[in-house]
């Protein structure tokens, strides 16, 4: 192996990125070089949130991050949310509430919402709307997504939502 590689930590594991081009975005490297196609590419200019991943404690648009700048940080992608194969509460709520249609926005939304609920166990409607306002969805009109967030939040608080 040449020296010509760098290492990214994705979902708790180190991955070597070899022979890459300068200027490749984190989104590109995740999708095309490391085999994490879960983050999506609806705009590649920071407007849609479909490429959202977490770096450390922060959710970012991976299309706007240079892959090389993400070394030595913990990167969490959608593939890392159900690491053991079990669906997370938010993932299950998305299915139950009907928040998934085409599903192209879904991975980005799940990363964003997972982060929101870690920081705020009881977000009101406007807080949720604001938190996901950087994630475009063209199919759902957001109604079922908002419902899913409240379902997941309720289950995290140990309540049963009817």
């Amino acid at each position: 192996m040449s020296n010509d590689f760098y290492t990214l930590n994705v979902n708790g594991k180190d991955h070597q990125v070899a022979d890459s081009w300068v200027g490749e975005s984190l989104l590109w490297v995740l999708r095309e070089r490391l085999g994490f196609p879960g983050a999506k590419n609806a705009c590649e200019e920071g407007e849609c949130g479909s490429c959202s991943v977490r770096i450390g404690e922060e959710v970012v648009c991976s299309c706007l991050v240079l892959a090389g700048s993400a070394i030595e940080q913990d990167i969490t992608t959608i593939e890392g949310l159900s690491a053991e194969g079990e669906l997370s509460d938010v993932q299950q709520a998305f299915i139950d509430a009907g928040a998934v249609q085409c599903g192209f926005c879904t991975p980005g939304l799940l990363v964003t919402i997972d982060d929101l609920l870690e920081k705020n166990k009881n977000p009101d409607d406007l807080t949720v709307r604001e938190a996901i306002s950087g994630n475009l969805c063209r199919c759902t009109g957001y109604g079922r997504i908002l419902e899913a967030v409240q379902m997941a939040a309720a289950s995290r608080r140990g309540e049963k939502r009817e």
């Binding site: 590419n41 609806a42 200019e45 299950q92 085409c102 879904t106 306002s133 475009l136």
Partner: protein
């Protein structure tokens, strides 16, 4: 939703249940393979060189430099198209790549395959094209009278619909001119696909699309090979809304793969996507409504002009819809409607959710409100008074034989009391955070609108779907080429199969051209009826075969047998056999399903051209800051005629999602075209509603009157939510501002006139 049954056994997810999507788990895990996720070890990347000009002659096209770049495998142009040089959904008039002239900004001129997308970009930049710019034809008003910009002429279709008395005058007359801007479908999953050359000289194409078999026909013709040598498989589709009904990169990908003998993948960027698919037709509409003093409509006169852009796409069918439904869901004894769709050098337009009915709904609903004002009547009452019902005639002379609960749709929507919580948070003011809307200045408006359209293909088109049901060891496998684009057909196909066969496990085979006949397009709100009908018919045939087998083997009358929860039982309880055992020897049925025939429109636009109709109403509440021109859509209420509700949660998703696209067209979405050039081909500049822009959608009523002839009595539900939502929102803004607002989207400068504010 409280009625989602996640813990009940799967077999209970039948017709009428909120069954979960079978693709839900991979979609939430991020493992669902969209067309942009496809990957092949040996694949190359493809790219497209597009014209920067809306109208130009190509004087020189030199690819030599590009071919010299290391890592470039091929560069192809018009001269390399092996078969027909043009394609099209209804009429082949669009070049695979431009030959001597380009007719719209973004028209493909050359294609490249290379090792890396960056090399693709360099190669595209190294192609040397000398254009001689021409004056683009950008004004649809003059297209009919100026020189042709295409050998097929500048008029795609003109319809003169004449119904009843052409001269009769009403005591009350109202008139208006209305405009609808160009809307983009803005699906999130960009155009993308992978073509793999076959060893037999054919090609395998994995692509996101709405209609596999129509793609195959066009691709094969352009490649100059037999249809069966083009094998198309549906790749995961990230939304469609009409924009994937035409070909985009299909032929290009196949040409590159066949030339390089390597798999080739291509993904459009968002900017390219704006140039790479058709849009909703911008419309100019003139209306004059005649009514008597009681408010009964007497006659409607209208002229509807649609800008079809450079190529035909489905313009002919769009203008037919615009003309046929120009009056709205009302009883109109006399009408003369001129509908015309023309060719210009603007971006090509075609299918988008609502398909012609969205544009005219904005016009006829504004007219109904004007009529209410002229008569000093209530806008709801005037609509109720004229509401279409079963047995009434359409403008085409066709009598509605199916259900038409227009009055019920209007009444339930108007009477619903919203659960609107007033919010004092600045985020919920027009303009949101960071703007300066003053709560004191805000004016609220509320209004209702009604719309309708046809379900399925019309005008005598041989509209069918195909399905195969295979039952073996108690497991049903359904094969259907219906394109799942997010709408939820996959869920429905499982529900139907469980309902009819009583089995638990239903496998959906991939949608592909190889294994089954055409399902027709995922458009026109048709797949629930058509492919739903095909799956139903296939399952019923298998059910019959299964029962016949049991009758023969066990000497029981077929009438004494029922299928329940994986068992075949006799009514008297003497006999039972598991479906697993009874289908150890597989059973299969392969069917085609057709709806009742339709007929072409005659020279007066008259005829039984349509099969069935679906209706919806929306009531919008908006807050406007008239000084700043900021609008916040506070709430939407809707009622919809669905025939029969097959899956409550999925239906709500359609009602909410469709309404969001209507809100977008009302207040923010427009493809801005200046001198033929798109000015806002990005999600930075073309805005679609975010979660902060979108109000809650309250469902006043989902109206269930089973539609005769429809499988399970269900009507398609995808389009009606996008039809009257726009009209309701703009009407509410008119209420709030007292402005005429004859155009959507309503822009800030339409509310605040620049002169006044300076």
């Amino acid at each position: 939703m409280s009625d989602v049954k996640t813990e009940t056994p799967i077999s209970s997810f039948r017709i009428g249940d909120s069954a979960p999507r079978p693709d839900g788990i991979p979609k939430v895990k991020g493992t669902f393979a969209f067309s942009s996720d496809l990957w092949h070890e040996k694949m190359l990347w493809g790219g497209t060189l597009r014209s920067p000009y809306p109208a130009a002659r190509i004087n020189k096209l030199d690819i030599t430099e590009a071919l010299l770049i290391d890592g470039v495998h091929t560069v192809l142009t018009h001269d390399d198209v092996p078969g027909e040089a043009v394609y099209g959904l209804e009429h082949a008039d669009q070049p695979v790549m431009a030959a001597e002239v380009v007719r719209y900004e973004g028209e493909p001129v050359a294609i490249v395959a290379a090792d890396h997308p960056e090399i693709v970009r360099r190669a595209l930049a190294a192609i040397n094209v000398e254009y001689e710019e021409m004056v683009p034809l950008t004004d649809p008003e003059i297209a009919e009278s100026v020189g042709h910009i295409h050998p097929d002429g500048n008029v795609f279709r003109k319809i003169n619909l004449r119904h009843g008395d052409q001269e009769i005058q009403g005591d009350i007359q109202v008139e208006g001119v209305y405009e609808v801007g160009m809307q983009d479908q803005a699906f999130l999953g960009p155009e993308s696909g992978l073509a793999v050359p076959g060893e037999d000289g054919g090609v395998d194409l994995y692509v996101s699309t709405q209609w596999l078999h129509a793609d195959r026909r066009q691709v094969a013709s352009c490649l100059g090979i037999k249809e069966e040598d083009v094998r198309i498989t549906l790749a995961g589709v990230g939304g469609a809304f009409g924009a994937r009904e035409d070909l985009s990169l299909h032929v290009h990908l196949c040409m590159l793969a066949m030339r390089t003998n390597r798999p080739v993948k291509m993904i459009y960027s968002r900017e390219e996507s704006f140039h790479g698919h058709v849009h909703r037709h911008p419309a100019k509409m003139w209306y004059r409504h005649h009514a008597d003093r009681e408010g009964n409509l007497v006659r409607v006169e209208a002229r509807v002009l649609l800008d079809g852009g450079a190529y035909a796409s489905s313009s002919g069918a769009v203008i037919a819809n615009a003309a046929c439904f120009a009056g709205g869901p009302y009883r109109i004894p006399n009408a003369n409607i001129e509908g015309i769709v023309v060719r210009t050098n603007n971006p090509p337009c075609g299918a988008m959710r609502g398909f012609g009915a969205v544009q005219t709904c904005m016009g006829h609903e504004a007219q109904m409100d004007k009529l209410a004002v002229a008569l000093n009547a209530d806008p709801v009452e005037i609509r109720l008074k004229n509401a279409l019902k079963t047995g009434d005639q359409l403008l085409t002379g066709q009598i509605i034989t199916g259900t038409a609960p227009v009055a019920e749709v209007i009444r339930t929507c108007a009477e619903h009391v919203p659960s609107s919580q007033e919010s004092s948070d600045l985020m919920s003011l027009p303009g949101g955070a960071g703007r300066t809307a003053d709560p004191e200045h805000i004016s609220r408006g509320e209004a209702i609108a009604v719309g309708f359209k046809n379900l399925m293909f019309s005008e005598g088109f041989d509209d069918f779907s195909s399905a195969v049901c295979h039952l073996e060891d108690g497991v049903a496998t359904i094969t259907c080429a219906c394109a799942e684009v997010g709408q939820g057909f996959v869920t429905l196909a499982q529900q139907i199969t469980r309902e009819i066969l009583g089995v638990e496990e239903v496998i959906l085979a991939p949608a592909a051209t190889e294994t089954v006949g055409s399902a027709g397009s995922t458009s026109a709100s048709r797949q629930t009826w058509m492919s739903g009908g095909a799956v139903q018919k296939a399952c019923e045939e298998v059910r019959l075969k299964l029962l016949q087998r049991i009758t023969e083997e066990h000497e029981i009358s077929i009438d004494d047998l029922v299928l329940v929860e994986g068992q075949v039982l006799s009514l008297n309880g003497d006999f039972s056999i598991s479906i697993d055992a009874a289908s150890e020897n597989p059973l299969e049925a392969r069917v085609e399903y057709r709806h009742a025939p339709t007929f072409p429109l005659d020279e007066n636009g008259q005829g039984d051209a349509h099969v069935s109709f679906a209706f919806a109403a929306h009531r919008a509440v908006v807050d406007v800051d008239p000084e700043l021109g900021l609008v916040k859509v506070v709430e939407l209420v809707t009622s919809q005629d669905v025939g029969r509700l097959l899956n409550p949660v999925q239906a709500i998703g359609q009602l909410e999602g469709g309404a969001a696209q209507g809100v977008g067209l009302a207040v923010m979405e427009e493809v801005l075209v200046a001198e033929g050039n798109i000015r806002n081909a990005s999600f930075t500049d073309y805005l679609i509603p975010t979660a902060l822009d979108m109000p809650p959608v309250e469902i006043a009523a989902i109206i269930e009157h089973p539609e005769p002839g429809a499988p399970f009595g269900a009507k398609g539900i995808g389009e009606p939510p996008s039809i009257s939502s726009t009209a309701a929102v703009v009407a509410a803004i008119r209420e709030a501002t007292n402005l005429e607002l004859p155009r959507v989207p309503v822009r800030l400068t339409d509310i605040v006139s620049v002169e006044e504010s300076s």
